[in-house]
Symmetry: C2
């Protein structure tokens, strides 16, 4: 079983910033993230540029990295799409993998898309089928799977039923997204454990925000529950529903650092990621939440216990 890292900073991270990062800087950062060996990078999303100006250059970025001399050899470039128009734009500019989601909260779904869960699901499944027909990768996610800022508790049975619908439509790469940051480890174990029972062949992905300081514990609980795809943002950038809260997504370099100590993600180099985070900290002119930004990696990393017997042989590639 191979652990896969999906960097969502250029999308989920930068979209949450007030200032718009210029295209040249984004290219430099994405180049460095590619150089680190990260498996999948979410370059942007296809939304209306006046609505989310931070994502206005998504097409330019995909076209840039489509050029034969720049196309990454192994890294997959993904994009978030919200509707058919976005899918069309993404197909036209060379997106490798499309990420699409439906909220498990009726209120959240209605407010964000104007559609209830059922209608949104039908629409997303049709879009996903189109993308697959064009030979593209697809990841389907349940958003607000662990709780919702509007509705509060989300019943696990509801999340499981949504995933079942995705699976029955033929999709196997499934992400549960902690859109608002409510996930806790016991819940992570329960939900992902239930999905593994439902279908042991699913490629399970997780997307956590570190709002209440449980991000890394949730990542560990997910790993132990059979999740193999991990979404995170360099520097811990990312959106957050509460303005007083300092943390966004789980921080990529912190996650890689923890996984390296377990013998996991051996193909990812933490150095270039940390460089991007340091530049982001300079650009945004404030301390960002990632811990390695403060501490650097563990001193003489290799001399500390580098792995625990039993884990790396099951999981490392």
């Amino acid at each position: 079983m191979r652990i896969v890292l999906h960097e969502v900073g250029p999308r989920d991270g930068l979209q949450a910033e007030k200032s718009v990062v210029d295209t040249g800087t984004k290219i430099r950062w994405i180049e460095r993230l590619i150089a680190s060996g990260i498996d999948v990078i979410q370059v942007g999303s296809f939304v209306h540029p006046t609505k989310v100006p931070q994502m206005a250059d998504t097409e330019v970025l995909f076209r840039w990295f489509q050029a034969p001399e720049r196309k990454p050899r192994t890294t997959v470039l993904s994009a978030l799409v919200l509707n058919e128009r976005g899918l069309e734009r993404g197909l036209a500019c060379g997106v490798d993998m499309f990420c699409m989601g439906v909220s498990a909260s009726e209120t959240h779904s209605l407010r964000n898309t104007g559609m209830g869960i059922d209608e949104a699901t039908r629409r997303i499944l049709a879009m996903a089928a189109t993308a697959v027909g064009e030979g593209k990768g697809v990841q389907l996610s349940v958003q607000s799977a662990f709780g919702c800022g509007h509705e509060g508790k989300i019943e696990p049975a509801k999340v499981l039923a949504m995933v079942r619908r995705f699976v029955e439509a033929g999709f196997a790469r499934i992400s549960l997204a902690d859109t608002a940051g409510f996930a806790h480890p016991a819940q992570v174990e329960y939900l992902f454990g239930s999905l593994r029972e439902m279908d042991p062949e699913l490629d399970l992905a997780c997307h956590f925000h570190d709002t209440w300081g449980m991000g890394m514990a949730n990542v560990w609980a997910a790993l132990k529950s059979g999740v193999t795809y991990f979404e995170s943002s360099f520097a811990g950038l990312g959106g957050c529903p509460f303005t007083t809260i300092t943390s966004g997504n789980v921080c990529t370099e912190d996650l890689v650092h923890m996984f390296h100590l377990s013998g996991l993600l051996p193909h990812v180099d933490v150095g270039p990621i940390l460089e991007v985070s340091r530049e982001a900290e300079k650009l945004f002119d404030r301390a960002l939440p990632g811990r390695l930004l403060r501490t650097g990696p563990m001193p003489s990393g290799g001399s500390f216990p580098a792995s625990a017997p039993g884990l790396e042989k099951d999981r490392a590639r």
Copy 2:
């Protein structure tokens, strides 16, 4: 199986601060920590007052809480002792439970105590036997069990052999302390899993620092490996070997918050702990690492998934 919380802030936390907290403030804080329902509170340590002035009032504190009208009904008051003189002082002023440890690093042990591991172990075992003879509780710990700032890697076999010696001498409450903050979850699972295999009846305790952002993940990994005693500091105060690093111990209120979401530690109230942390932040006049200090507990906590099936029935009291 009952989960037990051991608050070490008044000792490990305050000892790391440059300023000395006055006795009246300490009393008020400890009173509030007792009111929260915390099981064990480490009030201080018996060291020379000129060496560690922050701990100079440890006897005064124990005498204060020994008075019949103030003695906590259920909370156990513990102290750290380093030598026979400290034990004597602790026995004289009413300590309920003694915490004693030996470093798994020969270098660290020599620097801290002037004795190698073997000699230090013999001495601690004799002191522990004296304390038990006086009807006191004892917790024996292996310090630097997960790595050492001087030596780097600590062989797991060494840690296990040290614990075996404690167990063969008749002691069952065993703590592994991440003195320098090097622990990572796979290592936590391996070491505590090995201890459970060695003797399933041990009362296992863990003590983590959040240096590289893995504190909460380590706590979760420890819980899943059969650890039932959790040591932490209010506000995430605590010593740390690297001056650039912002975090100390795992933060008590963050840990309680996470455990509550799993149905664990139902007897502990997060409110009074958070009050103490807020006062500490004011007193020390800087932002402290605890996350709940920034966010507060999850909104309408009860309305979010409060527990995961299967866990609370095994673990809550």
